[in-house]
């Protein structure tokens, strides 16, 4: 059994890893470029969007019962086609 100080070191390492992953993902996923609506044909397909429409998403709400660490989504309204008003 690790003592409290060892536990803190383990947690600190995990938090550091998560922060690093978050920073890297942020750089990769948020991007630097605007793609105008005239070029958004492919990304506007329903299967390309992040929303909670069950006919198009592949995630399952039941899995949160067996995968408690994956319950990230939920809450308020979600996104739709970014170029569609």
């Amino acid at each position: 059994m690790p003592g409290p100080s060892n536990q803190n070191r383990i947690v600190g390492t995990a938090a550091g890893r998560l922060a690093l992953v978050a920073a890297l993902l942020g750089l990769v996923l948020t991007g630097c470029r605007t793609v105008p609506p005239t070029e958004q044909r492919l990304v506007s397909r329903p299967v390309m969007q992040f929303n909670e429409r069950p006919a198009f998403v592949t995630n399952s709400s039941l899995l949160s019962q067996t995968e408690p660490g994956a319950a990230v989504s939920g809450g308020g309204a979600n996104s739709g086609c970014t170029s569609c008003r």
Binding site: Q7, V11, A14, A15, L18, V21, A22, L25, G26, L27, L29, T30, G31, C32, R33, T34, V35, P36, P37, T38, E39, Q40, R41, L42, V43, S44, V47, M48, Q49, F50, R53, P54, A55, F56, T58, N59, S60, S61, L62, L63, S64, Q65, T66, E67, P68, G69, A70, V72, S73, G74, G75, G76, A77, S79, G80, C81, T82, S83, C84, R85
Partner: protein, 536 residues
Amino acid sequence: MSRCPAMLLSVALLGASVPAIRGENTVSADLTAIRLASHEDGRPVSLAGFGGGIVVLDFFAYWCAPCRTVSRALEQEVRAHYLARGGNPAGIPVQLVSVNIESEQPGLTEAFIRETGLEQVWHDHDGRLYSAFRGEGLPLVVALDLTQSGKVTIVFRSSGLESIGPLRGAIDAIGGGGSTGSDNASESGPVGVLAISAVEALFEGNFSDDLQLTQSLIRYRSETSRNAWDVAVGLASIGIDYRPSPFDFLGSATRVDELRPSIAANVRHRPADRWTLLAGAGYYDGFTDYRSAWFNEYFEQQFNNPSVGTVPGFVAADPEGFNVSGGVRHEYLPAAGFIEFNGSYQRDRIAPGYEIDFNGLTRGIDLLESGVYRLTFENVPHRRVRTRLDLQITDTTERNLRHGINGAANVALGEAWTLRLLAGGAIEDPEFEAWFAGTALEYAVSPAWQLFASGRYYQDTGEIENSLSFSTAAPGVRAWHAGLGIRHVAGRSVFKLFAAPYFTDYEPVDLGTLFFANLYSDRSWVLIQAAWQFEF
């Protein structure tokens, strides 16, 4: 325009909203020099041909769902309306031109034109005219006053269109005519809000030898350019063939069946072009997961057993909960990227744990309050890629903060192929760590039929021990599934079916959780999903 991630948050916080142009706005007469192609015969066309009149431009693309509603409404409520009256109140002729900005898939554009009944269509394949009006989304509706020689005046411009009324008001005011454009004052009938409404239904099941879990949901949603709302009612079921541990001398095998009805609603309002306000609320009544129902049965058999009576201090569980949420979204890249902050408060009355010693029965905490704070980035960094990043912090009663991250990327590999990637994780002191990764590959056999394969892997280190010496916390688990699905699109209706084998593999229970060896046993499941939606 280029904005890198380091700038994004500050841009979002400071605000860079560009309001829609309302009222008069004179633009360069060079606008009339832009030559487009007529859909009818391919001949060159330009706005110069409408000198002395009023022109309404309806920019659309076949893949833009709101465009379908707006284009159809403009044909009926603008073209037909002013044609029947010989122009606006001042007698100035009004023309409607539908401008297609998409050059690919001409067959689908043709179908859009046919289904919406567009009379006059121009092609702006390189987006020159669209860009001249600083288009930031679709549909883009612009009304031009060309009555003065050599001068083009924008009298109305809107990304998206909430209703026809304001557009008619702007048209009717040209030439000194009175406004008849109020939303419900049309002589041809009410000019209502342009809404897309849909009904969605979902059934999910996850079945093993001793556990049967289902979730059913029906949702109604309505969206306009500036407002959206949805309400969903659900019913979840939990079926357990309960088997006590061999060491549980008070326990007996039995059947447990529980239901959990729920209701949830969300609203969305866009007060300015790049800002959206979000709010939501939900309520449920029942056990949120099968483990809670299993524990409840265990404690019932221990402390509320007919053979030994009810132990003083035992109270039957009645779990329920509600949540409220609010948030704000800002489009830091027009039509291509947004940042969203969402905060929610959740209050859950749970089935508590119990501990018994020489002092009697101690009931564990039964009321949890949680604050969930989430920051989301969504972006279109490339014309084939859409990405999303969620950062979440959850603060729950008597628990340390849980930090979560979820990143996803959807990639259009081609006209028929789509790849979805997903990865994420969570950590919580003192020792909980979880991560997961998944992918889905979709292939459109035809516009009506799509096939997809989907899989996911999940792993965690086991749940946090509760405050009682007797632990119900789950040991570490690995879970994975891979399955096949099919989707059928028939007009306004979409149907989806998905099935996958699913496996959960727990680490061995220790002495603290020995009484739950049957709960935390490895299982093989069958996961199925059926979903349907219909757009009105």
